[in-house]
């Protein structure tokens, strides 16, 4: 009889875990060793990593392809500013509150947009984001169509320049790493098994007793809350909200979709690879403006047609790599 053992981790995944922890520790100390422009870039990186990870959780696992996640990015920013301006809430405390309020808002929104199936859900979620944007543009107390800046008095609550920059960076790092860790933990749990089953076949997973509707609904609400927290952070990075920027479909959804598609949809590693590729491209090509976006769109189409599972999916299939394993492997010893 053959002997076998079951394991979750591999040598590569253990090394990846250690590298990730080491990287996190080094980055956490960045305010002491890095320049402010590095902190800014790293903060932005964390924001995109978190948004891509969350969008991937929705689209890659439950087939909820949302083109309207900018609704929650903008909502998070607007709630943070409202709390800080009208109720004197400390901006840092406003971030979790924004997440909570947005999650509550997402409950009825989900009830409505979930009536649209498949691809129509995508555009329905976009309509919702447009509704949010147009309502924000009507809010005269928050600057209407032209938006509003955070007053100096509120900015001062974040401390002096160094402390302010450091705390916003730490927040970005915490949210970026937090989202990644959360998704990793979620996918290794019972719910993760359900999500992976839904990703592979909705019909089969229903027959095994997974209540797809409930899982999707819960996931949508959680992702909305987390996306709003990232939106809140973005508003503090920029110290300003305006309807067109806060609810921008290009900035908060198009780029995010490209990142996930290029990196590899339906995997944890995909969004990480995608974010790295996106920032590299941006560093080299951003000067070309329009051409850069043309290139990014073309690259996404080529990847979708040639390697639908993205760069990471292609490599994982070919070489059997897995840095963040969520399944189990059986090793036979004979």
């Amino acid at each position: 009889m053959t002997q076998f053992s079951i394991s979750r981790s591999t040598l590569a995944s253990r090394i990846a875990g250690l590298v990730a922890l080491g990287l996190f520790a080094v980055l956490a100390a960045a305010p002491w060793w890095a320049s402010s422009s590095f902190l800014h870039l790293a903060g932005e990186f964390a924001v995109y990593l978190a948004l891509a990870t969350l969008w991937n959780l929705l689209a890659g696992y439950t087939g909820l392809v949302s083109v309207g996640q900018q609704a929650y990015v903008g909502l998070g920013g607007y709630i943070t500013f409202s709390l800080a301006l009208f109720f004197g809430v400390h901006p840092l405390l406003a971030i979790p509150l924004a997440g909570l309020v947005a999650a509550l808002v997402a409950v009825p929104v989900a009830a409505l947009v979930f009536r649209l199936a498949g691809a129509y859900f995508a555009i329905g979620s976009w309509v919702m984001a447009e509704v949010f944007r147009l309502i924000a543009a009507q809010a005269t107390a928050l600057g209407g169509g032209s938006g509003i800046s955070l007053p100096v008095t509120v900015t001062k609550a974040l401390g002096a320049k160094w402390l302010r920059e450091a705390s916003i960076f730490w927040l970005a790092l915490a949210l970026g790493a937090g989202c990644l860790a959360l998704v990793y933990a979620l996918l290794r749990s019972r719910i993760g098994l359900a999500l992976t089953a839904i990703r592979d076949s909705e019909v089969a997973s229903t027959s095994l007793g997974i209540r797809i509707g409930r899982v999707k609904h819960a996931l949508y609400v959680v992702v909305a809350g987390l996306t709003a927290m990232i939106g809140a952070l973005i508003s503090l990075q920029k110290l300003r909200v305006s309807p067109d920027a806060a609810f921008s479909v290009n900035d908060w959804t198009a780029f995010v979709i490209f990142i996930v598609v290029i990196g590899g949809i339906g995997t944890i590693e995909g969004p990480i690879i995608g974010t790295i590729v996106y920032f590299l491209l941006r560093e080299f090509l951003a000067d070309f403006g329009t051409l850069y976006l043309l290139f990014l769109g073309t690259l996404a189409i080529v990847v979708m047609l040639a390697a639908p599972k993205g760069l990471w999916g292609y490599a994982a299939e070919r070489f059997g790599w897995s840095l963040f394993p969520v399944g189990y492997r059986i090793t036979f010893k004979d």
Binding site: A59, G63, V65, V67, L112, R115, L116, A117, G118, A119, Y120, A122, I123, G124, W126, V127, E130, V131, L134, I135, A137, Q138, V249, N250, A254, I257, F258, V261, I265, T290, L291, L293, L294, L296, G297, T298, A300, I301, M304, L305, P308
Partner: protein
């Protein structure tokens, strides 16, 4: 009288929205494709018309003689070259590829034509109006509405009375059986997209006569067309006309209350109908 006038104008604008929606409804009906670049293709048609007019100095509506075949040929090539490769059960590829296409079209138009807003000049047609029973009806909106009715009637006839329509319906019902009967599904899809972009060409020219346009107008038009499709009910071509009219009237009433409410009122009407009748008013098929 004011209210009657607002509603009448809304109904007529609804014709334009129905033109946005008809092509969307057609390709969804035939191949279950939701083309996110639909609005950007409408804008592309507007720019194509602008170039044709520059070359030929034809009036805008006459330029359709060139714009419709050009857009239809582009649709055929687009479907055969790119979109056909994405179809095959999975929802993600067509959605994401058309999303990429949308970004490419917007930025391509921006690179070639800059962000300046343009308009096609249709001369007296733009201001001419007739007075019926104390109501002033603009000739252009009336023509737009009549065109929408004619286009939808023609599509309806084509779909149910011609060999091409039979091929569309057969492929829509069961693509594999249709192939066994000797239809080439890829070619059928390509004809459907060609037809869709023919309608898009008409929509684009009317859009460009009625208002200013710029490279980033596409997503808004996609959303109007989409709302008209859902309000009317999936797979129902006449339904898109009803959907367009409801959207147009809602926007008109919204604008009458406050100009900032125009677009929002249309979205709210859409969401209300979605909440009460999730499958639209006159559904013919399931999503």
């Amino acid at each position: 009288m004011d209210l009657v006038n607002i509603i009448l104008q809304g109904v007529l604008v609804g014709g334009l929205y129905a033109l946005f929606a008809a092509g969307l409804s057609l390709i969804f009906g035939v191949m279950r494709l939701v083309n996110i670049a639909h609005g950007d293709l409408i804008v592309l048609a507007a720019y194509t018309a602008m170039e044709v007019i520059k070359l030929t100095s034809l009036p805008p509506l006459a330029a359709l003689v060139f714009v419709v075949p050009l857009m239809a040929a582009f649709g055929y090539a687009l479907q055969r070259g790119i979109l056909n490769r994405t179809l095959g059960g999975d929802l993600l590829p067509p959605l994401l590829v058309s999303f990429g296409l949308s970004v490419i079209l917007q930025n391509g138009l921006l690179a070639v034509f800059t962000a300046d807003s343009r308009k096609l000049d249709a001369g007296v047609l733009e201001t001419a109006s007739v007075t019926v029973g104390g109501l002033s009806i603009g000739l252009l909106p009336a023509l737009m509405f009549a065109t929408a009715v004619a286009v939808i009637a023609a599509l309806q006839f084509m779909f149910y009375k011609t060999a091409l329509g039979r091929a569309f319906r057969a492929t829509s019902d069961d693509a594999e059986i249709a192939e066994l009967m000797g239809l080439d599904r890829r070619r059928v899809y390509a004809w459907a997209m060609a037809l869709c972009l023919g309608v898009v060409a008409i929509a684009g020219v009317f859009l460009a006569i009625r208002s200013n346009f710029d490279p980033f107008m596409g997503p808004g038009r996609l959303i109007f067309g989409f709302e008209a499709v859902i309000i009317g009910g999936l797979g129902n071509l006449w339904g898109t006309l009803v959907g367009g009219v409801i959207l147009g009237v809602a926007q008109g009433l919204g604008a009458a209350i406050d100009p900032g409410w125009q677009i929002l009122a249309g979205h709210v009407a859409f969401l209300l109908i979605l909440a009460v009748k999730p499958r639209g008013l006159f559904p013919r098929m399931d999503g």
